[in-house]
Symmetry: D2
Subunit: 476 residues, 4 copies
């Protein structure tokens, strides 16, 4: 069967024995048992299990028209409006399960791969391009319901506009050899979220102008020579009561080191082709489907945030203050805006030139721009609403201590006893103030690239003619 269970996912990753450097040492014990990974892997496993839950199966999987085989719905290449609607339902279901807190829930990468494979025709007839490799990789992943991550960007040595790496020893990963078996990659790539706890790694180069860095391929996470370097974990060690979010959703970010890694030919989508490397992603339906998934997830996250904010407001009884009302109302307004843009993108969906039924890109770009900017305002807002309550958060064990009864009394809120009130405030803290929470802000801000660059590109993509004609009409 092509639809994985949580158990199979956990066992699969543990069996691969991917090389993850944590601090000074390579992690020895199974990753699913390691404090840095077990929370998020458990959460992912629950998502996989949901595919087998009778209540969700039809929402999360589909039966292939030809083979009769059942696959995860995130792999479905939509050809009709109904297909697209089913995709939306699947994304929403998984996103609400995790309150939109998992950036790399399986549907994200599955969607990305589906979109790239659906656009494989764009590679036809181009130098050093292998559209068939991409299509069969998609079939392979779909058939085994594998989990992937990707790495696109280069190490941040120098972000000047005209920087060109001139080093003997490469920094940004590049092709150092081509031979009968494939290409050899050496160097580093940033910043693979969930790196090391996925089956597969998809690698595409950032925009550039060097032939050695014009490639796209995929390899198993346990490929020879591959190391994932972890930052410290932001998963709260003491568990879900104290760290309701990070204990479940901390995904880890890793730097990927390639030490002369062989990429076999059948796993290469294109290489030594800068033009394709610079254009394929943009010309494919990657952005449309990627942003579609992201927007649905973000709406789920935002609605969860509204719940946190309003719960705080009620618990300390501050709804009478005009600025408080305004803060909460603006979050609801943001949610309405995003949902409208989502509906606009779906209402405007149409088959692209390759026949994929694609959501309309523009409203999705608008939504992404708005969310990236507004999301950064949420954490400060919660801090300002929560005030001293954000620091009056002894760990929940304190309520089991010799002072537990008193604390339960002294820390009560308008509706909750102390322990439950502290749990709510710890949730707000984990969202808005913990190392996990701030990483979320950063992640959402940069999810689809630097907003400063993106809005400039967006300007460049607008056809201003119809707007200017209105002015010309009036003036003439």
């Amino acid at each position: 069967m092509s639809v994985r269970t949580g158990e199979a996912y956990l066992a699969g990753i543990d069996a691969m024995d991917n090389k993850v450097l944590s601090g000074k040492t390579i992690i020895k014990k199974p990753l699913s048992k390691h404090a840095a990974f077990r929370g998020v892997m458990r959460t992912q496993a629950e998502l996989y299990d949901l595919q087998h839950d009778a209540a969700y199966m039809d929402v999360l999987t589909y039966t292939d028209r030809d083979s009769g085989e059942r696959y995860g719905l995130s792999f479905l290449k939509p050809e009709t409006r109904e297909d697209l609607t089913r995709r939306s339902g699947m994304i929403k279901c998984w996103a609400e399960q995790t309150h939109g807190m998992i950036g790399r829930s399986p549907d994200y990468m599955n969607t990305v791969l589906m979109a790239l494979a659906a656009s494989a025709d764009l590679l036809e007839g181009k130098e050093n391009c292998f559209p068939d490799h991409l299509r069969s990789y998609y079939e392979y992943v779909k058939k085994h319901d594998l989990t992937m991550t990707h790495t696109f960007i280069d190490p941040q040595v120098n972000r000047g506009d005209f920087y060109f790496e001139q080093k003997d020893e490469p920094i940004a990963a590049k092709i150092v050899e081509r031979n009968a078996e494939g290409i050899i990659i050496h160097g580093a790539k940033l910043l693979a979220t969930q790196g090391g706890i996925t089956d597969e790694l998809v690698v595409m180069s950032a925009a550039g102008f060097e032939q050695d860095r014009g490639f796209g391929f995929a390899i198993p996470s346990n490929a020879d020579g591959l190391t994932f370097v972890a930052r410290e974990s932001f998963a709260g060690g003491k568990g879900k009561a104290d760290y309701p979010l990070s204990a479940r959703y901390e995904e880890m970010d890793t730097i990927v080191l390639f030490d002369k890694v062989l990429i076999p030919w059948e796993r290469i989508f294109y290489y030594d082709n800068v033009a394709v490397a610079n254009s394929f992603k943009n010309e494919s339906s990657f952005a449309a489907f990627g942003l579609h998934q992201v927007l649905i997830r973000r709406v789920a996250k935002l609605d969860f945030t509204i719940g946190i904010v309003q719960s705080l407001i009620e618990e300390i009884n501050i709804a009478e203050y005009q600025h408080v009302r305004k803060k909460a109302a603006k979050l609801v307004i943001l949610s309405e805006v995003l949902q409208s843009l989502l509906q606009q993108a779906e209402a405007g969906a149409a088959p692209d030139r390759l026949g994929t039924f694609c959501p309309d890109l523009k409203p999705l770009q608008v939504a992404s721009n708005i969310f990236a900017r507004k999301y950064t305002e949420i954490a400060p807002m919660i801090q300002q609403l929560g005030a001293s309550g954000m620091m009056s958060i002894p760990p929940v064990q304190a309520f089991k201590s010799e002072k537990g009864v008193e604390l339960n009394h002294y820390l009560q809120g308008a509706t909750k006893q102390g322990e439950d009130r502290v749990k709510l405030f710890r949730l707000a803290w984990d969202f808005a103030m913990s190392s996990f929470g701030t990483r979320e802000s950063l992640y959402e801000y940069f999810f689809f690239g630097d907003p400063v660059r993106l809005i400039s590109q967006f300007y460049g993509s607008i056809d201003f003619k119809p707007y200017k004609e209105k002015v010309d009409n009036l003036l003439s």
Copy 2:
């Protein structure tokens, strides 16, 4: 025929001889010839004429199912989705004709009256309420395609929260007598836009708690004892070349003085009923249909603004600057957001309890909140982009002077000769810097009430339960 021509409108208003105080004197000559009014009346006349233009007739008028009579489409009470769609098309057509610059284009008040009349059932059986008067007033206005304005708010004596007028001589208009013929109104009301150049005046009291001020009625603008006090005109006197906007769209705002004005019974919708006065408008479909018309108009206005901004950018060649690109892009983003909310409101439309096919209110409220706040940022943006060009705007006659040839050369832009470039900058100035332009900003900001109060009310209208449940689920 029930659909008016521009000529009939102009002649009608002139014949009424409404009493308008301008400076120290009551205006004597026909209003349509007066410098303060001729521009906007000409523009309104063009809108009426469009109803008779074969190319627009089916967009702007409809044939009554029962009588076979043709009426203006803004009077159509929608009962189906198709009706609503037709209404949208009509509003858009008139709005684009005037670039959204006319707040009181006929469709606005026609829409308001339609919505109130469609909600007349709410008045049934209530004390001192006459739903039939409202319905027949609607039929009367529709049949003669009359033009109306309204006045709702009281003079701004004291805006404190608990202010209660205690004067012997009334300030805010109130009922001072009830007799066999009707009620007698004395005092003042603010701020009737286009006051004096409409056939009719609709008067409803602001929220309050005084029986004498709980009323709703309509009277002809030339009713005995009625005076409209005009502010100075912001219409640029030298014509469309120098004042492309104000010469066409300056609508005038007036204070309305009631000097013991008799309101005959058949024109009274309700009186001496504070509860109804405070609730009828909110419970009716007034807000839904009003905000629907306004949003369509505002989208037209915004798109015109984008045209101005981008024309400026190109004319002085500043598109290379990142902050310039961002400014223009954010206007496009705003337009996309408003259009999505409009589509959301229409997609969510449904029959209300009285059978009127009503747009969904929430997205319209969201759009109104966003537009009111963002619109105030546009004028400063245009000033910052236009820079010294905003003051290098000799009147166009200067190009006919002895220095005309030189000026045409010296004031050239990237694509235009001096005279055309100055016309563009004068347009930008009239939009962003003239007394007319700033009045537009004020008008849009307060169009549906003080945004500070509105967002607080909006907060109060939200059902937070589903949001909070997400949090409760996680915590338990």
Copy 3:
């Protein structure tokens, strides 16, 4: 006597018969009688007269140590802290007289010329430079207490970063001939405020790289071939009651046309020297003294603004609202900040390398940056506070009409009768919404250049070493 009276100033300008194009025609009648200029010229005359008022004479003038002659204090080149303090007092006195609303009060240009002349040594020994011409021009202007304006910037044809004018017929004014009598200038310059109503015009080229445009000189406003092209006047025609600001303070902006104007050698400070043209102003004490004058004026203006805002608040009784309090408080905070920066600049004053006792530049740049950005927020703030009151402003003559008594009653505020309340609101309107008011916003925003460029240059001028050392110390 070297200190002018208002009468002498008015007569002097009228006698010069400067060529000012207004609309299609050159102004014929004396400028001091022309509607566009009489208000501001009357205001300027009052400033001059104040120099002869016994109560102000010692604040506004000084006695030369050597000659015993009395001069305007704005000409004083400070050599001691006491001199600088006297300068401050003089600027403040004139600024408070005009509520900071006159950008080109005589002290501004006098200060500029003093600073340039005090820096004349910088021109010594450089090619085509005549420091003595600059020094004697300063003496000449001081001795006759002449009034000046300046023009520095070029027409806004193309603001791209690498624009280079390539036209046969010049646009930006340039040297087209050098001969025995002097140089011949042809082309246009922007944007001489008060152009045409000053005795003298100081011209310096903008930063560039063309020899023909590397110059600095001064000529009388009635030089042969010189034309000032006026925009329309923003002076409210009906006088001070209705237009309390523009009737007094509208200064006019003009485009300056040079039609082969001869600049005699003795009036040339430098020419054909791009390096000097690009550096002299920046290396001189121009910015320090100019920004010092401007800051004192702006503090006076801001305090006047606070008066307007608080008067509005009290008149409609809205001080109970938290957002209203915040708005007003932020203006007071801004005023405190500017005053502190002024004090900082004066406390840090010291002799520059040429012996002039110069205020510290950095706090003045900081103040200028802050004011330019914050000032643009004031007009929208006043609009939002004033609300409908900003449009309920019949001209004051209305109070003399047949409805005058009623209006005086109906438009009353919390403390004032209608007529006085309307006068207050007309003041607020003239400040925040009239064409005059918006021009003020633009003027202040760009007073010392485009803030976007200025803050970037400011960054470039900072020595970050001491800041970074703190980090290095911690890390090592």
Copy 4:
């Protein structure tokens, strides 16, 4: 000797055996050895030691005029401008030592106590007030150079405007008994920073209207019945290399539980006096001296922040981008503004009615308002500048691993090798993204109370008469 050494401070606290609840248990081992406290205690000890360092002794201590005894300078009650200047120097010295990151460096509470004691006259002759107790407490603390913290605010049960606690069992600490020995306090108080690691605890009630809660007193931290409940520690466990800030500066916040704690009479400043409880702090010089200390500390912190920001900018070479330059420049502008306000406050210092030489309060309030708001923008700014670099931060041990050499190469910046670059980014992360960093933001925002309330109060304190007179003059 009255000036403590670091060693004496550490030994003293350890010997007291204060009762601190951490999680489920009361901490057993000496606090100075406990992971949650050893960092900040070490840092505090270094500050004390500095008092004995010959290079700093005269900056940090003074010799009493009468007794010839040497005391810490933060205890000096200033009577002259010179005294105040010395105080500034002392505060600055300690603040720069700790980069302004220690909110409760000893000078803060010493300053607070000095200001309260200097204002003890205000308690003279009032009911239940003991000014002598306050004065002798000050002498006692000064003589032994003790360290204190304070707790002022009540548990956040309900922040509504008219909340009144009505519980049988008190929540907010109150007097439950008065007897021969003193008063008995029962209940809880928030949020004692450094609670448990100071010798003394100063307690004053928040504004209220209950006699039982109108008190001010001080007790030793090891008083019977006192428990400090700690939140989890934000001190990075792995040391200064990975957590350069939190390992040094994490101060801990504690909830203080009073279990029928006896306050002996000689330690009570006032009790059962609501009027005094509500007014004493405001009428004393508490705010002036407190805000003075805080502002000097904040300037030190801000300048350190500028160092971080500019180091980041240079390391990834992004100074060419206009928005980056603007971000950094605005921090420098903020620093200049704060320094000017500080200078203004000191220049305007004068003896208060009790003879204490007090800085001017208004500029300090302005500075506090500005800093509280602007500081919240810094963390997002650093996140946006650092981008992916903020997450590419393996712990420094990774550079000692088998992949250390490669990482050192791959993570290099424009000027640093990988390990040093990561140290810089970890510093930025600890400042802007760690749980420690976000707590700092919250702390600064609320340091002197809720800014929303404070700005409203500030408005109420302004004398608007001189501002309004300017308007009246113009209008009349």
